[in-house]
Amino acid sequence: MKTISKDILKKAASKLLFDMTEAQYTLLEDEFGTLLSQMDLIGKIPDIDSVAPMTFPFDTGTAFMRDDIPETPSPVTDILRNAGHVEDDQIKLPKVVG
């Protein structure tokens, strides 16, 4: 397991596409001390690797395809109303190529 350092935390934050202040990283590094002690409790469970990971409580058992029901799509103006930058009925982004 990766040991905790500010660099590791900065790497994790960078992957999540946000920045934090140095003070926030310091606080987070301190918090990880407790958190890793708590996480150690999981590793101490003797038979922890004897079972498969549980990803959902149980299978909800949907075993059929629902009928196709035609729907009227929302107007473009409605769909775009939450976007900050719109041009020609499309969401505008910073230029990527060229």
Binding site: M1, K2, I4, I8, L9, A12, A13, K15, L16, L17, F18, D19, M20, Q24, L27, L28, E31, F32, T34, L35, S37, Q38, M39, L41, I42, G43, K44, I45, P46, D47, I48, D49, V51, A52, P53, M54, T55, F56, P57, F58, T60, G61, T62, R66, S74, D78, I79, R81, N82, A83, G84, H85, I91, L93, P94, V96
Partner: protein
């Protein structure tokens, strides 16, 4: 006395008898909402609620939610009504569609009068991390005690007598813990029992739609209105719901109730344990067969780290669409990533960023096996042990929290028995998708504390019946925080 101080069932009877109209109810609910000082509301829907109420003229005798005002946590999509999830990154976002539960309540002509405050993106348990600041507990006029979270405002609105029911969501204990702190009935049904379509996801393997009422019978009314399959949510069960109005009346005689010794013996206030023990004796007198059972302590101590690892890891993926491009306050940058980084840096609070980093750390390639996957394995071991208990028992009973609502500045040792077990065991219901209800057990220093009853998947009827039996013994039914809006 106001009709708003009554239960849903009693208000319905008054509506049917035309002693009060939906418009009169809504006007008073809006007045109370505006007068409330607990910071319960993201938005109060004056015009929409008054228009809806004005259109309701002839009462529907068989529809117990007809004309009943309610509020919804601000992480349910509401068409043409701003929905922020308590986060600045969604300021100004106006959904194009209603969540299924909002739609079902609209069809019932229940009247939405406001959207309520929450911990940011439902990722907290204190009611102090939302972008509108702290939500206060209506029972504490000094504003020092929390109501808990993340469904803070929805709990406050029902507890303060503004509305008789409200919608919340429960990923760890986000309905049931605030219910415990606010003297309410808080329901988290079976995972898949109520559609989550239109609920902002936090951790989908743990997320549930839940709700607050002030009586067990009202909880049956609301559950009966919301429990059904939904073609828009593939995780919503096809299992037909029970007749909750009928099954709530069943006797507990002969029912087998388990009490997990390690939970009850973890650190609680003595007054809580005294009230709990007294109630257990009363349930035995009703004919319930109560057994003390053992649970592996190492698994109980791992509840919180398993929860925080799984929930934060799932949350990092679910929040990836919050990019400030498609919705949220507009940003711009040299590149798409730069624009997104600016939006997320400005839009997320410090606390939520820290939670995301925890999730990202658990998902790092070198950590996945020892953190994330092991947390999922621990979850399975816990659920297997719970299922073993349910082979011989119908219900599991426990105090819902170590004490009354804590003060905002209270510090707890996060490696203590009190924190790891007594304060976090409600998460067991989310791990296994078991239905659970918290309801008032007693009062201490004029603050409520609660009890939690949990059943087998899709057996909400028995859980409701137990809640109603408990309610009869405690006498704590339909209690409202004394205060400025309802005195």
């Amino acid at each position: 006395m106001s009709y708003l101080d009554l239960t849903i069932k009693e208000i319905h009877e008054a509506l049917v008898a035309k002693k009060v109209t939906p418009l009169e109810l809504v006007k008073q609910a809006l007045e109370r909402a505006k007068a409330n000082t607990d910071n319960a509301f993201e938005i109060i829907l004056d015009q929409e609620a008054l228009a809806h109420a004005s259109a309701l003229v002839e009462p529907e005798i068989d529809n117990l939610l007809w004309g009943i005002p309610y509020v919804a946590k601000d992480n349910f999509s509401t068409k043409d009504i701003p929905t922020t999830g308590g986060s600045n990154i969604l300021n100004g976002y106006v959904p194009l569609f209603d969540a299924t539960v909002i739609n079902l309540l609209k069809q019932k002509n229940a009247i939405l009068i406001g959207k309520t405050t929450l911990d940011e993106l439902a990722m907290g348990g204190t009611g102090k991390s939302g972008h509108k600041g702290k939500t206060f507990n209506p029972y504490d006029k000094t504003k020092q005690r929390m109501i808990g979270g993340s469904s803070s405002g929805s709990a406050a609105a029902v507890s303060a007598g503004i509305v008789p029911f409200s919608l919340g969501s429960d990923t760890g204990d986000s309905v049931r813990k605030p219910a415990s702190y606010a003297g309410l009935v808080g329901v988290k049904p079976t995972w898949g029992r109520i559609s989550r379509y239109g609920l902002f996801p936090f951790a989908p393997s743990l997320d549930h739609v839940g709700f607050f009422t002030r009586s067990a019978y009202d909880a049956a009314i609301v559950l009966a209105s919301l429990a059904q399959s939904d073609p828009n949510d593939a995780t919503c069960s096809q299992t037909a719901p029970e007749n909750y109005m009928q099954s709530i009346g069943q006797s507990l005689a002969g029912k087998r109730i388990a009490i997990i010794e390690e939970i009850v013996k973890s650190k609680h206030r003595p007054e809580v344990i005294k009230a709990f023990d007294a109630l257990v004796e009363q349930l035995k007198n009703d004919g319930a067969i109560v057994t003390i059972v053992k649970f592996r302590r190492d698994l109980l101590e791992a509840i919180f780290p398993i929860y925080i690892t799984i929930s934060c890891a799932e949350a990092t993926s679910n929040a990836a669409n919050l990019d400030g491009i498609k919705f949220g306050p507009p940003t711009w940058g040299a590149t798409y990533e730069d624009a997104m980084r600016q939006a997320r840096t400005a839009g997320f609070s410090e606390l939520i960023k820290r939670r995301f980093v925890i999730g990202s750390y658990a998902l790092l390639r070198e950590n996945q096996d020892v953190l994330f996957l092991r947390a999922q394995k621990g979850r399975r071991l816990i659920v297997e042990q719970l299922n073993n208990i349910y082979q011989d028992h119908d219900l599991i009973l426990a105090p819902s929290a170590p004490s009354i609502a804590p003060k905002f500045e209270d510090k707890t040792d996060q490696l203590s028995d009190e924190y790891l077990i007594a304060d976090n065991h409600l998460v067991l219901g989310n791990f296994g998708g078991f239905p659970g209800i918290t309801l008032p057990l007693g009062m201490l220093n004029d603050m409520p504390f609660g009890i939690h009853v949990m059943g087998r998947p899709f057996e909400e009827g028995l859980v409701l019946a137990a809640a109603q039996s408990i309610e009869k013994h405690t006498g704590l039914r339909n209690i409202i925080a004394p205060g400025e809006v309802n005195s």
